[in-house]
């Protein structure tokens, strides 16, 4: 006896906008900007088309990291208010599409960087994608409250890649820029995690405020700001930049330190009333944009 034919309704294909959302466009803007600044700050002129290709590869590589991060963390994202409307937890896309999309972007960006620009830039781009996906997302994020500290290295690569794309080698200035973003990440993210810590707790992510408490996190924000300040100002006394960058870095960093101290001495426990934390988080984004902008202006003036 034959069974009646079952008519299956195919799932709706994801919208192209959902694929775009997988690349975390807002995060990408900072990545593209710092990568572009690394490229423009380099002492060697690069053909505009090759420069554009380098930045495109950095952007697409960052998009790949974002897509693979969302693919792996779909279960976590479903528990957090901030992330539950993303394409995967919202059910607008199947996981396999996200995985294929992320892998295709990652492989494509590294191949293009290697073939069109240089192998060192491609190798660092590949390392940054793998670091973000494997070291941060898969390994550290769910295991240790120091996830942000080490994971921050992934976001610190773009200026280095931009510089290497133009010059073909690594110098002291891009290493300092790498260090700056690396050390900027903990105060930036911990300021955010302080006022969304219930979200992280609900998702079971061992963010510092969830595991070690608000007070320890505030202290850590202050502590990490000090080496970050040193890395930000260092290019000036080392003679790698001029006074434009030096003065801008000194003023901006002084304000950053002041905001970090305000976070450090705050005793507020109600997330809704955490104004110093919100102020530091917002300023930290502006800080990086203006600082890198000042670097480019300074280097172009020196040139």
């Amino acid at each position: 006896m034959s069974s009646p034919a079952v008519q299956m309704t195919p799932a709706l294909p994801a919208e192209w906008r959902d694929f775009l959302a997988l690349t975390k466009p807002r995060v990408m803007t900072l990545v593209v900007f710092t990568g572009l600044c690394g490229l423009l700050a380099a002492p060697i002129h690069i053909h505009p088309i090759l420069g554009f290709t380098s930045i495109l590869c950095i952007a697409v590589g960052a998009g790949a990291s974002g897509a693979l991060n969302m693919w792996y963390e779909a279960d976590l994202d479903a528990h957090m208010k901030r992330t539950r409307s993303r394409p995967l937890p919202a059910g607008r896309m199947d996981r396999q599409s996200a995985l294929h999309f992320g892998v295709a972007l990652g492989v494509g960006s590294v191949l293009l960087m290697g073939l069109a620009i240089n192998l060192l830039a491609a190798a660092i781009l590949a390392a940054s994608i793998l670091f973000y996906v494997l070291v941060y997302t898969v390994w550290l994020k769910r295991r240790t409250p120091q996830n942000i500290v080490i994971g921050g290295a992934a976001g610190a690569f773009p200026p280095l890649i931009g510089w290497v794309a133009a010059t073909g080698h690594i110098d002291l200035l891009p290493i300092l820029l790498f260090l700056l973003i690396f050390l900027w990440t903990p105060p930036h993210f911990w300021a955010l995690s302080l006022f969304v810590r219930t979200d992280y707790a609900a998702a079971g992510v061992p963010m510092l405020p969830v595991v070690a408490g608000v007070r320890t996190t505030r202290l850590q924000v202050m502590l990490y700001t000090l080496p970050m300040a040193a890395a930000a100002v260092a290019p000036w006394p080392l003679g790698l930049t001029g006074a434009i960058y030096g003065i801008a870095a000194s003023l901006l960093t002084a304000w950053f330190v002041l905001l970090a101290v305000r976070v450090g001495v705050s005793r507020e426990t109600d997330q809704a009333l955490m104004k110093p934390e919100r102020a530091l988080f917002k300023f930290s984004i502006l800080y990086l944009f203006v600082l890198f902008g000042a670097l480019v202006v300074d280097r172009l003036m020196l040139a």
Partner: protein
Amino acid sequence: MTPEYEAEYRRRQHARAKVTAWILGALVILFFGIAIARMM
């Protein structure tokens, strides 16, 4: 599959195909530009 569902299915497929075509076209232009830039 209802007609509305099928229409939405086709609309999404069409939109994705159009975006893919634009990206491929842009890549063709980019690769041409890269080839010229590398020769200079």
